[in-house]
C-alpha cells in the first residue's frame, strides 16, 4: 500500500501546499532542448524547491534524463545539444555568458544510474574531488563525514584503502553518493539511481535520500513510479507528444505534490500513466 502511505510532515503543516513554504532553487521558463534539429523537450516551465525531493517520471524518451542534465550543464557534453528559453539557478541564468559549467557542476552534483566508482581505493574515490577542488584541509574528516552521510562509513571504515571495485552494487552506489557529497554541492541530481540495484539496496538508497533531504535539494529521475511515490515530495510527469510530422518530444504534463499526482491527478494523461493504462 505504498501509494497511499500518508506523509506526516505534510499533514502537520496543515495541508498547506509544500510549495508556498519553500524557496525556489531552479526556475525553468519555456525551456526547450534540441539535439541538432530534433526537439527533445518542449516548453518546460517548472520551479524546483529547496530541500525537497522532486521526482521526474514519464515513459521512455520523454526527456527526463535530458531535462535533469540541463540542471548541471551535462548537456554541454553532447556537441549537438542546444537550449532555448531560460533556466535559472538561484536567480542566475545557468546558460548565460560568463557562467562556468565547471563551477555549476560543483554546486549541482550528480549520481548516475549505474554505479561508476573510480578504480581507486575507497578513500581516494571520496577524496578525488576534494583534492582537485583544493579542499585538502582535514581531508580525513571530510571523507569520513561524506561516508557517514552516505550511510556507508560503518561498512568501510576499516578498509578505506581497499579498491572501490570490490564493494557490492549498493555499496558502490552509496560510495558514488559520498563522492558527490564530499564536494559539498547544494543540489544532488539522481539519474535513475536505483534501477541497477536489487530491492534491498534500493530501499537503502531511498532511506538515504530521506536523510539527505535535510541538507540538500534532490532531484531524481525514475522510471519506477512506485519509487517516486515512496520518496518524492513533488512529482513532475513528463509525457510524450507526437507532432503532426510524427516527431516526438517531451513535455511537462503535470507537476504537483506527489500525493495529489497519485491519488487525484488533474490531467488525464497523468492518470493514464500512473495507473499504467497507457505507456
Amino acid at each position: 500500500m505504498e501509494a497511499i502511505r500518508t506523509k506526516i510532515d505534510v499533514f502537520d503543516r496543515d495541508r498547506s501546499p509544500l510549495a508556498e513554504q519553500r524557496e525556489t532553487v531552479f526556475e525553468a521558463r519555456e525551456l526547450c532542448v534540441f539535439y541538432g534539429d530534433q526537439l527533445a523537450i518542449d516548453n518546460v516551465n517548472i520551479d524546483i524547491y529547496r530541500r525537497l525531493i522532486t521526482a521526474i517520471i514519464g515513459p521512455s524518451g520523454c526527456g527526463k534524463s535530458t531535462f535533469i542534465r540541463t540542471l548541471n550543464r551535462m548537456t554541454d557534453l553532447v556537441s549537438s545539444a542546444r537550449l532555448s528559453g531560460q533556466l535559472r539557478y538561484r536567480g542566475i541564468d545557468l546558460y548565460g555568458p560568463g557562467v562556468d559549467a565547471v563551477e555549476v557542476r560543483r554546486r549541482v552534483g550528480m549520481v548516475f544510474q549505474k554505479p561508476n566508482p573510480f578504480p581507486k581505493s575507497i578513500f581516494d574515490n571520496v577524496a578525488y574531488g576534494l583534492r582537485i577542488l583544493g579542499m585538502r584541509k582535514d581531508l580525513d574528516e571530510r571523507v569520513e563525514r561524506a561516508l557517514r552521510s552516505a550511510a556507508l562509513w560503518g561498512e568501510v571504515k576499516d578498509r578505506l584503502g581497499d579498491s572501490a571495485l570490490g564493494l557490492s552494487g549498493g555499496q558502490q552506489q552509496r560510495l558514488c553518493i559520498a563522492r558527490a557529497i564530499a564536494a559539498e554541492p547544494e543540489v544532488i541530481l539522481f539519474d535513475e539511481p536505483a534501477s541497477a540495484l536489487d530491492p534491498i539496496a534500493t530501499s537503502a538508497i531511498e532511506d538515504l535520500m530521506h536523510e539527505l533531504k535535510r541538507d540538500y535539494t534532490l532531484v531524481i529521475v525514475t522510471h519506477n513510479m512506485q519509487q517516486a511515490a515512496r520518496v518524492a515530495d513533488m512529482t513532475a510527469f513528463f509525457g510524450l507528444e507526437v507532432a503532426p510530422d510524427e516527431s516526438r518530444r517531451g513535455v511537462l504534463v503535470e507537476y504537483d505534490e506527489t500525493e495529489k499526482i497519485f491519488t487525484n491527478p488533474s490531467d488525464k494523461r497523468t492518470e493514464g500513466y500512473v495507473t499504467g493504462r497507457f505507456g
Binding site: 500512473v274 499504467g276 493504462r277
Partner: protein, 226 residues
C-alpha cells in the same frame, strides 16, 4: 494495458452491483413480509441473506488482494476504496433487512395498525429508490444528484419522527404497545437504510471528484432549503 488488472476491477464492480440488486430484493421482501405478515417469506429472506454475504465476502477478500498485487493509484485507487465502503454499506443494509424480517416474526400475533404499516411501506420504497439512485450514479460515475439523495432522505426522517409521535399516542393496550415498539425498531432500521444509501452517494462523489465530502452529518443537520 494491464488487461488483467482492468478486468479484475471490472469484475469487482460487477459483483458489487449484483450485490446491490440482491439487497434491493431483500428490502422489497422485507417490506412484503411485513405488509402481509408472511412468516414464510420472512424466513426465506433470513436465509437469502447468505447469498448477499457470499458476495460481500468475495469483495472483502478481493480488495486487499488487488491492493497488494496491483498497487492501484489515482482513479483506480479511489474506485477500489469506493467499492470497499459501498460493500460495507450494502452489507449493513442487508442486515437491517434481516432485522426487519425477525421483527415481523416477533410481532406476528399482535394487533396491527394499517396507517403505520402504510407509512412504513412508503419509507421502505423511498429507501429502495435511494439505493437504486446511489448505485446507478456510482456505476455511471455521475455526481449530478448528491443533493437529490439528501432530499430523498428527508421524508424518511420525517416519517420516522411522525411514527414516533403516533406510537406514543397508542395508549394503554399492552399488545398494541408491544407491536408499536417493534414497529418503532422497524422504522429505525428503515431510517438507517436510508442513511447508508446517502453514504453510498458520498462514495461516488469522492470517486469522481477526488474530494471526500459528507452530504449529511448527524452532528450538523442540513438546513432546509428556503
Amino acid at each position: 494495458m494491464r488487461e488483467l488488472y482492468a478486468t479484475e476491477l471490472e469484475e469487482l464492480e460487477s459483483l458489487l452491483l449484483e450485490e446491490g440488486q440482491l439487497v434491493d430484493r431483500a428490502i422489497r421482501s422485507a417490506l412484503n413480509a411485513l405488509a402481509r405478515d408472511d412468516l414464510e417469506l420472512a424466513d426465506e429472506l433470513i436465509a437469502f441473506d447468505d447469498e448477499i454475504d457470499r458476495r460481500y465476502l468475495t469483495i472483502e477478500q478481493g480488495i486487499p488482494s488487488l491492493l497488494a498485487r496491483q498497487t492501484p493509484v489515482a482513479g483506480d485507487l479511489r474506485l477500489v476504496l469506493a467499492i470497499l465502503y459501498i460493500n460495507l454499506h450494502l452489507e449493513r443494509i442487508a442486515d437491517y433487512c434481516v432485522t426487519v424480517a425477525k421483527l415481523t416474526k416477533l410481532s406476528h400475533d399482535l394487533p396491527r395498525d394499517a396507517a403505520s404499516l402504510e407509512a412504513l411501506e412508503e419509507m421502505g420504497e423511498r429507501c429502495r429508490e435511494m439505493l437504486a439512485t446511489g448505485l446507478e450514479d456510482f456505476h455511471a460515475r455521475d455526481v449530478r444528484h448528491p443533493q437529490a439523495l439528501v432530499d430523498m432522505d428527508r421524508p424518511i426522517d420525517r416519517a420516522n419522527r411522525k411514527l414516533v409521535d403516533r406510537f406514543v399516542a397508542f395508549g394503554t393496550d399492552e399488545q398494541q404497545r408491544g407491536w408499536a415498539m417493534r414497529m418503532m425498531l422497524v422504522s429505525r432500521c428503515l431510517e438507517r437504510i436510508g442513511d447508508h444509501a446517502v453514504d453510498i452517494g458520498e462514495q461516488t462523489s469522492y470517486l469522481v471528484g477526488g474530494q471526500f465530502e459528507e452530504f449529511t452529518d448527524a452532528s450538523h443537520p442540513t438546513p432546509r432549503p428556503a
